[in-house]
């Protein structure tokens, strides 16, 4: 197996002349050749996503991990915790250690076998999201032989497997010898993993090219060549899809999605990820603010016309939950369905002393989701809550949100991994990064569940917590957003929706082109 080609070297300006450049340009023909699947990504591909150790707490890096790497245990079609590199695992009775037995005969792209030593190395070098929690809770890793190891914990941690498998990149295995040989940056420039596709070349912000890894243990990938192109503009992505230059276009929204469904040969694929959106009433703990009155908050919730918003913006694909906790999260409590009742909302407002509604100042939101804001604005105005839309540039919005500078209504969202407990910790409970205040009974429940080892008991406490959040109307949930992508005529199995809650195409080895191997 030839080692992957060295990363892009620096071509000095001197060596370049306009005429020569014509020839030098990568001549990827603009009509997609056969045996190749071209995916247009809406975001620029970051090399950090090629290295499991750097996985940030967002879903996007897993788009790359599923292609280039493989994990001990990962979400697969039909099974959120499917055994992959780890054939089997057992938890010790005292829940202080987990024993794993590796699948035999599994190779990395460079032909090296996957061994327990690599698993130990991958866990210890992990420095992505929640790496501190992992470091605190994991006592150590004992390698028994090439295919058996045990991970010891300092204290019982019911969520260990969730973290190790799906919430972080710790469980995704990299070849120790190769990483130490090429170093951290070298590895990012030419990653080697055990996934279904091998890294071929990467032009930052432009294009990633991968090739099928025949030796993949699960099954050899059906498509020979996989190319990810970065096409930032949504309209251009749709045009490229219509022209057949690309096969899959990530993130097509609103009216462009309408057009896509109407174009013959193209199909829209929607996957409900774990990104929930809500309105957060930042001033509810301030007695003078109208939002202090629970009826006003409930009125805002009732004003939202969820169905129409869903139909308009995501063709009805988004999941209308009435909770800020994603439905596919552990310990999820199903609240009553969301209701759109402007009349009752106006009655509640009148009772709360606002017969003619009130001016509620600013409505803060992330500029890239201002389209939701504009629609919600109209709904609120219909019941008399008059707000002014204040969209902030993405980074500035999160900064202000975290620094608790935002007021009145905040259109919040989170696609972070974890379970209902981790989501509550960040947004609901006292001291949470985005909690502007908290309620004692909820804080007490949270503390109680943190110490509870019995899963059933813990689930009951978390359910009660979510019920309290719902009753106090801390939030007015909007939806669990569907991530919509377009699929071209050449694609057989597009891989969308195979893995529950995963917005991108996966597992890559199952993808097929129509009519061709």
């Amino acid at each position: 197996m030839a080692s992957p080609s060295p990363g892009p070297t620096r071509r000095g300006i001197l060596g370049f002349s306009a005429a020569a450049a014509m020839g030098v340009l990568p001549d990827a023909a603009w009509a997609a050749p056969d045996g190749q699947l071209t995916i247009a990504s809406h975001v620029s591909l970051a090399p950090t996503w090629f290295d499991p150790a750097e996985t940030a707490g967002i879903i996007t890096p897993f788009m790359m991990l599923y292609a280039l790497h493989d994990a001990m245990v990962k979400a697969m079609p039909g099974k959120p915790m499917a055994p992959c590199l780890a054939e089997a695992w057992t938890a010790a009775p005292d829940e202080l250690s987990y024993a794993f037995t590796l699948r035999k005969g599994v190779l990395f792209h460079n032909g090296e076998p996957v061994t327990a030593d690599d698993v130990k190395f991958s866990l210890e070098r992990y420095r992505g999201a929640s790496s501190k929690t992992l470091k605190e809770r994991v006592a150590g890793v004992d390698v028994h032989d090439a295919h058996r190891l045990t991970i010891r914990l300092n204290e019982p941690w019911p969520d260990f497997l969730t973290f190790y498998a799906s919430a972080t990149g710790a469980g995704w295995i990299v070849p120790r010898k190769y990483v130490q040989q090429v170093g951290e940056d070298g590895y990012k420039r030419a990653p080697v993993g055990a996934g279904p596709y091998k890294f071929v070349s990467f032009n930052p912000g432009v294009e990633l090219v991968c090739e099928g890894f025949e030796g993949y243990w699960r099954k050899p990938p059906a498509i020979k060549r996989l190319v990810f192109k970065v096409v930032p503009d949504e309209s251009t992505r749709l045009a490229a899809l219509q022209r057949g230059e690309i096969d899959i276009a990530y993130s097509i929204r609103g009216e462009l999605a309408d057009e896509l469904t109407r174009t013959p040969g193209l199909a829209i694929k929607a996957a409900v990820g774990s990104a929930t959106f809500w309105l957060y009433f930042a001033d509810q703990w301030d007695a003078q603010s109208p939002w202090h009155d629970q009826r006003v908050r409930q009125a805002a919730g009732l004003a939202l016309d969820h169905k129409t918003i869903n139909q308009a913006l995501t063709l009805g694909h988004s999941h209308l939950t009435n909770s800020v906790f994603p439905e596919n999260f552990d310990f999820y409590w199903q609240p009553p369905a969301p209701v759109h009742d402007p009349a009752r909302a106006r009655k509640l407002l009148a009772e709360a002393g606002h017969p003619r509604g009130f001016d509620a100042g600013d409505y803060y939101c992330d500029a890239s989701y201002a389209n939701i804001g504009e629609v919600v604005l109209n709904n609120l105005r219909e019941v008399g809550i008059r707000v002014k839309l204040r969209p902030l540039e993405r980074a500035a919005f999160f900064k202000a949100y975290a620094e608790k500078k935002l007021k009145n209504i905040v259109q919040g969202a989170s696609g972070a991994f974890g379970n209902c407990a981790t989501r509550a910790e960040a947004f609901v409970v006292k001291g949470g990064a985005y909690a502007y205040g908290s309620y004692p009974d909820i804080d007490a429940a949270f503390a109680e569940q943190a110490a509870e080892t019995d899963r059933a008991k813990r689930e009951a406490i978390l359910h009660r917590l979510q019920q309290l959040v719902h009753e106090k109307a801390i939030f007015a949930p909007i939806w669990q957003q569907a991530f919509m992508s377009g699929v071209g005529p050449r694609v057989g199995e597009s891989g969308f929706g195979l893995i529950e809650g995963f917005p991108y195409t996966a597992p890559y080895e199952d993808l097929t082109l129509k009519g061709k191997a």
Partner: protein, 306 residues
């Protein structure tokens, strides 16, 4: 001559220093890059760890010192987002930007200069007004709109040209036209006023009195003099085309410096933004120097006096 060059270099360095300081401070004021790289709700220590990793925890002047020291040795540090040396990123995209800028400049001159000459020579003729209107139109329509209409017409409905991305020569046509058309009006206007001024000169009158054909009078005598100021403007615009074609590069997914700069700004990728702006600044200074040298080649009067 030497004293003149020394002064020029001195001013350039001062400009570059001022530019690097401005961009350094500006970027840091826009917010915390780490907040973007991590999901809302990431733990505090994760954020601290990243700060240390990027060296953001040190006091500002230390960071600035590192920036300047490494800048001199040509190392602009690592991109936060891409984790590769910034210069690699820059030089990988530079050829694309250079080609786009070159073709766009050629198109804008092809539109701008002839319409400028026509406007000056055939005042009020149909072609004069048509040329002027066409050039002005380029200034009046936002680039993204032009770009999308071109994609709609030539790519989606006619299917002649690829809608986006780089690769063959066909890819460059639409982006280069969109970018070039915008600058055509400026070139047209300057060519026109410069031609009008030159056409009134004595040596053009003498050229006619010599019985030279009109084409020679305008093409040789008038044009060469009139184009001197246009070269200056074209030089500056060329640098702008290379570094700031953000809109065109976004619409056509053209992997150029403009996009790199825009991503750098939105991701708060300090090293990338600093590098692109400082290199852009030195490019402007370089182009100014080149234009002066070009002046000396074209205009003998300058060669002796400077």
């Amino acid at each position: 001559m030497k004293q003149y060059i020394l002064r020029r270099v001195g001013y350039s360095l001062l400009s570059l220093f001022l530019l690097s300081l401005t961009i350094f401070l500006f970027v840091r004021v826009t917010g915390d890059p780490v907040a973007l790289l991590t999901e809302p709700g990431a733990s505090q220590e994760d954020i601290e760890a990243m700060h240390r990793q990027f060296g953001l925890d040190q006091p500002l002047w230390v960071q600035y010192w590192h920036f300047i020291a490494s800048f001199i040795t040509g190392d602009f540090g690592q991109s936060f987002y891409y984790r590769t040396p910034v210069l690699d990123l820059y030089f990988q995209r530079l050829p694309n930007s250079l080609i786009l800028a070159a073709v766009a400049m050629a198109l804008s001159l092809v539109i701008g200069i002839p319409s400028g000459i026509l406007a000056a020579v055939r005042v009020d003729g149909f072609w004069d007004s048509a040329g002027k209107l066409f050039a002005l139109l380029g200034l009046s329509l936002p680039q993204f709109w032009v770009g999308l209409v071109l994609i709609l017409v030539f790519s989606v409905s006619l299917g002649w040209l690829p809608s986006s991305g780089s690769g063959s020569f066909l890819h460059i046509l639409m982006p280069a036209f969109t970018l070039g058309w915008y600058f055509a009006a400026a070139h047209m206007r300057l060519t026109r006023s410069s031609m009008l001024e030159v056409m009134g000169s004595e040596y053009v009158k003498l050229a006619r009195l010599k019985g030279l054909p009109e084409a020679l009078v305008i093409g040789k005598h008038a044009l060469k003099n009139a184009l001197i100021p246009v070269i200056t403007l074209a030089g500056i615009n060329l640098v702008v085309m290379i570094n700031v074609a953000v809109i065109v590069e976004t619409v056509f997914a053209w992997p150029g410096i403009g996009r790199l700069l825009y991503e750098g700004v939105t991701f708060r990728d300090f090293p990338v933004v600093q590098a692109v702006v400082v290199i852009g600044g030195s490019m402007i200074i370089l182009v100014n120097l080149l234009i002066d040298i070009l002046y000396a080649l074209i205009d003998p009067r300058i060669r002796l006096e400077s």
